[in-house]
């Protein structure tokens, strides 16, 4: 990296910092907004977190300009991560009715199980 190039980088880091602060305020503000559909609120929250995550990964971790090898490692990891997230749905039985979901003494969970077993 040349000297001028680094000065450009510093400017980018400053802008990313301001963007991350703005998105943090936004994500907290939005959590006070009442959405009629709960999943819309969750989706908006995750979307903002995703944008913040992208800004950090692309700029601070330099993933916007990295070697192929790193991208391949991350693609492989991401595919295993997706598999991990959907693993429970691979089983036929409905996990919501399985006793294994109540790991600790969880009154809400027990009540739910009792209701659903009738």
């Amino acid at each position: 990296m040349s000297h001028d190039n680094i000065q450009d980088h510093i400017k980018v880091y400053r802008n990313i910092f301001l963007a991350l602060l703005t998105f943090t305020v936004l994500t907290v503000a939005i959590s006070y907004v009442h959405f009629d559909l709960v999943w819309v609120g969750i989706l908006v929250g995750l979307l903002i977190a995703g944008i913040k995550g992208y800004l950090v990964a692309a700029n601070f971790m330099h993933l916007n300009n990295e070697k192929k090898m790193i991208y391949w490692i991350l693609i492989l990891t991401a595919s295993f991560l997706v598999l991990l997230f959907f693993m429970p749905t691979l089983w036929d039985n409905n996990i919501a009715h399985s006793e294994t979901t109540v790991l600790f003494d969880d009154p809400g969970g027990r009540e739910y199980l009792e209701k659903s077993s009738h």
Partner: protein
């Protein structure tokens, strides 16, 4: 025996070895936190009352911690940039600022945890608090791990700057990648546990 490709890039990967190493480690970290996030999603989707203790969590303190961690990511990247600019003094300043941020984060976390215990809210209270303490506890351990490496790199480890500038700069880049990852995990933990 000299370990190869500490500074020079390996022709086939285009990377120095430590960078490939840290990315492989981060890949395993993605799976570690991913597994716990997956457990969170599973527990939440299978129990309508899973989040009933969420209102006990302190959103202003967590927001403060988010800002602290974002700031520390910037000071960390600036520490690396300072070395690229051949400015060891600034490097030390930015590294110490990063350390200061991480201490601040842990202090805030200490107050948060103490308040929970005072209200008799423990990991064993229910599934939500179990998940909350596991995820934030593991994340907190990562903060402490990063601090140990930072203390070394701003303390005794800084001697390497005299003998091998490039390798030392690479070491700082590697701890930086780790630190940004810890920041990234928090970016998702914060809304998942406190807000949504």
């Amino acid at each position: 025996m000299q370990i190869p490709y500490n500074e020079k890039l390996r022709p086939d990967t285009g990377l120095y070895n430590a960078k490939l190493g840290i990315w492989l480690f981060l890949a395993s970290e993605i799976m570690l936190f991913g597994g716990l996030f997956s457990a969170y999603v599973l527990l939440r989707s299978s129990n309508a009352d899973f989040m009933m203790h969420q209102h006990y969590l302190n959103v202003p303190l967590a927001t403060l911690n988010t800002i602290i961690l974002i700031t520390s990511s910037v000071t960390m990247v600036m520490a690396w940039v300072s070395l690229k600019l051949n400015d060891l003094k600034k490097y030390k300043l930015y590294m110490l600022l990063t350390l200061l941020c991480s201490v601040g984060f842990l202090i805030v976390k200490f107050f948060e945890y103490s308040a929970k215990f005072e209200h008799h809210l423990y990991p064993s209270t229910d599934n939500f608090l179990g998940t909350y303490f596991t995820l934030t506890g593991l994340h907190g351990l990562h903060i402490i791990g990063g601090m140990v490496v930072m203390i070394y790199l701003v303390g005794p480890g800084v001697k390497m700057w005299e003998t091998n500038k490039e390798r030392f700069t690479n070491r700082v880049e590697v701890i930086g990648l780790y630190w940004h990852f810890v920041d990234l995990v928090w970016i998702f933990l914060f809304p998942a546990l406190y807000l949504l």
